[in-house]
Symmetry: C2
Subunit: 692 residues, 2 copies
Amino acid sequence: MSSALNSNQIKFKDTVDDEQPTTRRLRNLSLHLTPPSDHRYNLEFEPCSGGRTKMIVDAEKLTIYLRGKHKDIQEKVFEYFNSRTDLQTPIEILKDDYRELCMKQLVGLVREAGIRPFKYVVDDPVKYFAMVEAVGSVDMSLGIKLGVQYSLWGGSVLNLGTKKHRDKYFEGIDNLEYLGCFAMTELHHGSNVQGIQTVATFDPITDEFIINTPNDGAIKWWIGNAAVHGKFATVFAKLMLPHDKKGVSDMGVHAFIVPIRDLKTHETLPGVEINDCGHKVGLNGVDNGALRFRNVRIPRDNLLNRFGDVARDGTYTSPLPTINKRFAATLGELVGGRVGLAYSSAGVLKIASTIAIRYSLLRQQFGPPKKPEISILDYQSQQHKLMPMLASTYAFHFSTVHLVEKYAEMKRTHDEQLVADVHALSAGLKSYVTSYTAKALSICREACGGHGYAAVNRFGSLRNDHDIFQTFEGDNTVLLQQVAGDLLKQYQEKFRGGTFSVTWNYLRESMNTYLSQPNPVTARWEGEDHLRDPKFQLDAFRYRTSRLLQSAAVRLQKHTKTLGSFGAWNRCLNHLLTLAESHIETVILEKFIEAVKSCPDESSRAALKLVCDLYALNRIWNDIGTYRNVDYVAPNKAKAIHKLADYLSFQVKNIAKELVDAFDLPDHVTRAPIGKQSPGEAYTEYTQYAGF
Amino acid sequence: MSSALNSNQIKFKDTVDDEQPTTRRLRNLSLHLTPPSDHRYNLEFEPCSGGRTKMIVDAEKLTIYLRGKHKDIQEKVFEYFNSRTDLQTPIEILKDDYRELCMKQLVGLVREAGIRPFKYVVDDPVKYFAMVEAVGSVDMSLGIKLGVQYSLWGGSVLNLGTKKHRDKYFEGIDNLEYLGCFAMTELHHGSNVQGIQTVATFDPITDEFIINTPNDGAIKWWIGNAAVHGKFATVFAKLMLPHDKKGVSDMGVHAFIVPIRDLKTHETLPGVEINDCGHKVGLNGVDNGALRFRNVRIPRDNLLNRFGDVARDGTYTSPLPTINKRFAATLGELVGGRVGLAYSSAGVLKIASTIAIRYSLLRQQFGPPKKPEISILDYQSQQHKLMPMLASTYAFHFSTVHLVEKYAEMKRTHDEQLVADVHALSAGLKSYVTSYTAKALSICREACGGHGYAAVNRFGSLRNDHDIFQTFEGDNTVLLQQVAGDLLKQYQEKFRGGTFSVTWNYLRESMNTYLSQPNPVTARWEGEDHLRDPKFQLDAFRYRTSRLLQSAAVRLQKHTKTLGSFGAWNRCLNHLLTLAESHIETVILEKFIEAVKSCPDESSRAALKLVCDLYALNRIWNDIGTYRNVDYVAPNKAKAIHKLADYLSFQVKNIAKELVDAFDLPDHVTRAPIGKQSPGEAYTEYTQYAGF
């Protein structure tokens, strides 16, 4: 990862004036490649203040703190697939075979291993998400196929339907007899769900709805389970109700259960056209299909009628007064998918960082003159690539665990404040964590060089499978705007004397405290104790968010006058996205600081504090321009932050082995020869894999 | 890409005090999803200064300027594969079939289409690189397989061997009868080539070398053409010469031609063990293998003896005095590979940005209330993702064309200064361009949402295939260090009164001018004319490089005293990498500014100037912390740079269609349904692909 280049070439080079140009050139080249010998070397960083010895971390104790009460269900998943080698996904598999294998994996999990996802969805969402994360570690396609069946298709029946639907479908969904799809997205409409064009027209004569795809752009696209296995689909369509004047009224988007294949013969039903969306960048174990409907008739009972119902006579009733409110209520029920993706994405990051860090500890390349080669993780550049990533993995762990717990609490209590909180928090964390993980997977591959490019070492499939996490269940750029919108609403509430929701509580103080000019004295403080003080770190994060929020509000107000609200929003869009990211980073830091404080084991707590400091200072340094621009930090402090972030990366490197061991991922889950827990086995397994 | 969220929710929201919590929650949700109606909207950016009309660009004229004299050979490649549908790589293909197809593609190209790569390598390197870029656009595996045969295996015979090798092998390499490998990398040694352990011991009795793999770590790994097709390999091994005292002397790394398979039967030869490196993240059309040698005997003549020879009696002779100089000379001949990768990587970026931008112009999602939806490229966030990328594509085009021309000139003249220049420039551009393109491919996929995830739309295979460009032919992190090392050498030369090499010429002035304190007056200038003045832009880039260079030299000197040279280099590693990147960005900007000036067509020149300004200001803004930290720009100027960069992205968006059309990539080369040149066909082709 580092060349043998070094600064000696400057000081030790002899100038020979009479040498030939070619010789000089070659000498120069050789200086690139072989450093003059120098027996002194030191890879240790001197401590920034005072002497320190290497931190001792007990990975097992740290594991106990990290892994929640649902370790058992995860172990059950891991062990089932470890014992069923016939169900493990091979590195090379054709799409159609992969889909069948993925179906078999799902059936095995539910009918043989005794995992009952639908029951967990209802009774214990935290357990459900833990199980999904484990399943995704085995094969992300399987995790997604399971999610389509239980969260999306199953979840839509549970949450958008009523008792009659639950009574009729629960058992079949649970035991996989009723494989189903979630048919929302259309060819022309993904993010803009209100723009979908599929229609469901009520026929009062036959007491049926008639489902139609009015044009090619309205073909349901990317529908998981549709291409091969699905029997039913929850179809989102505009409900059309005929009225007196022989016209129809558009009642807005509703969800309908539409049978798409015969329960016995599995033949596609009349009026339904299903095509295969074909190969994807990843997740090829999932059979995504495209659905077109031509006058498909379904009974009136198939309307999922929790938020809006049609009576036998065609009368429409709803507990909610407007189309927009019904639509919002419908989509609001789907927040669980985002919670699961944020949580699982952090799980993917654990796997990738474990493999990359273990290999970087094992791999040696170059070294001081006449000394053995050193591990590539001893290079500052490799620490820079991987240590803030490891810190982020820990940070995301705690914040997504927090999210999952909040979600479960919301499902239990239906508390209105929690609903709002979980909605915005899930949008923000899903977006931020999946974007980060996607980039991190590329960095891991690159940091592991050529051997990182071997498919067996997993970075390729992890990246390809995870990639779409950034897009589905809400495009990240769109979700960040929801976060920004929520913040602006909170900002307005403040001026009306309202209360902030729990997660954004810090803004209450921010808006009063932080918007004054930065303190010119503290702006110069550069001591390590100060920089590692959670108060400084949180203040810095909160200050940035508050400032971005206030300036966004001012700019929006200004531009709205000339551009209208849509134009103003668009003019400030980059600003708003930065605001949203800043806010999420703040929430993540808060949760991390809380987790450090709550850790009962002293040595684990010290390790977590170190990792948390790295997370905080790395993020502040990444955005140092913002802080400098308002003189929140003076130049000397900026420099000190930079230096300390490098130093903390070095310190974290010293306990990196224990920190990844604490993720407690057995070799049969990481499954990368170069990432074996016991470094002695790594190269051996890898050469054996190639046939030696 | 944008939600319908907008600022109106702040100003137009009614507060209803007596509403139920659930109702309020739902109303809040609905406000997220549907903006209050507002008929005013405006997506146009008001010009920063004065009124402007949309720029008119003639894509055809711009194409003429962009495409060099070797358009013909590229067209020949494109047309051959367009006519031979049986040779086109399908989306799903098993590894072994892919390798056979790739071999057929190569044979077709050489024996049927009349492309003679080896002749171009010798006679016209610019033509060779243009051809390789086109071949890589058809299939990157084919481009790499061709490069292994002609640049690496062929190039090693030509450049490291002498006339006897050329006479014996030229024809067979040219006509593909002698398929060959380049066996340098070992399992344990990639970047550190001097650390390889394979040995070639001279046997004076039989007049042979005996090639041995002393341990598993020395197995040659990742060797292209080895797993299936290769007949020969250029094997890099430590030359061991027996001497009087019955011991052997290690003469350092040399290259040997080792036959690995029987020319007629294709059987693996005795003593050679070949295994398959298996699936890779991408490039699965290339048959990478692993080679182990057990007492493989080759004639003395098989030593590629340009830089070192062994006589019949075992006497060693060389035109170069030391092991290190011979090693440097050997590796120095391999620079062509880096030149080709930098150039081809820019070609990959052209394809990806063409597809992403065409789709972003076509795709509509959301829009102002009661108005049609707008194109996603109308969103500031999408412009932010794709317009600086488009500007970089242009920037990389001009700088890699420059590199290719310099390389050809070097091959023609063997000018010593040019050799040094091309060495450092190729290391820098290969590293910078491939790292950028790798990230850009992920951004393109994400920017195109779900349809970007369809394999048929190519982002997946482009990314997977291109990914390893960052690693092979010199790991990017290692190459950047070579650039930094070169800069430090130049810095030293300066103080000795020596001359700078051509590319770094600017540093001569920099070191005198830029290291004084920034001018507090110009630091505040924020006018558009000033910010778009090439002098301001170049000064800013050069200032940064000069400052980083000077501070790196000071830090290295300081740390060397306590840490030794290796430790000091490592302590400053992140700093040195930043320095190298800053320098390369500067070179790229210089070449871009020159290309703008040289453009003969006025409207094309104006368009290029706009794109160049965006490249420059985007990079300055990305590193605004550095500039602010030394008060090179005052806060007001930082803000103006940010605003102007956003504005230029908007302006470039207005001519984005023409700018990608000017790359002149026909649909049968881009091959992504969503990226069709004629937008009317895009969705149609895509639905037809799915079977509708």
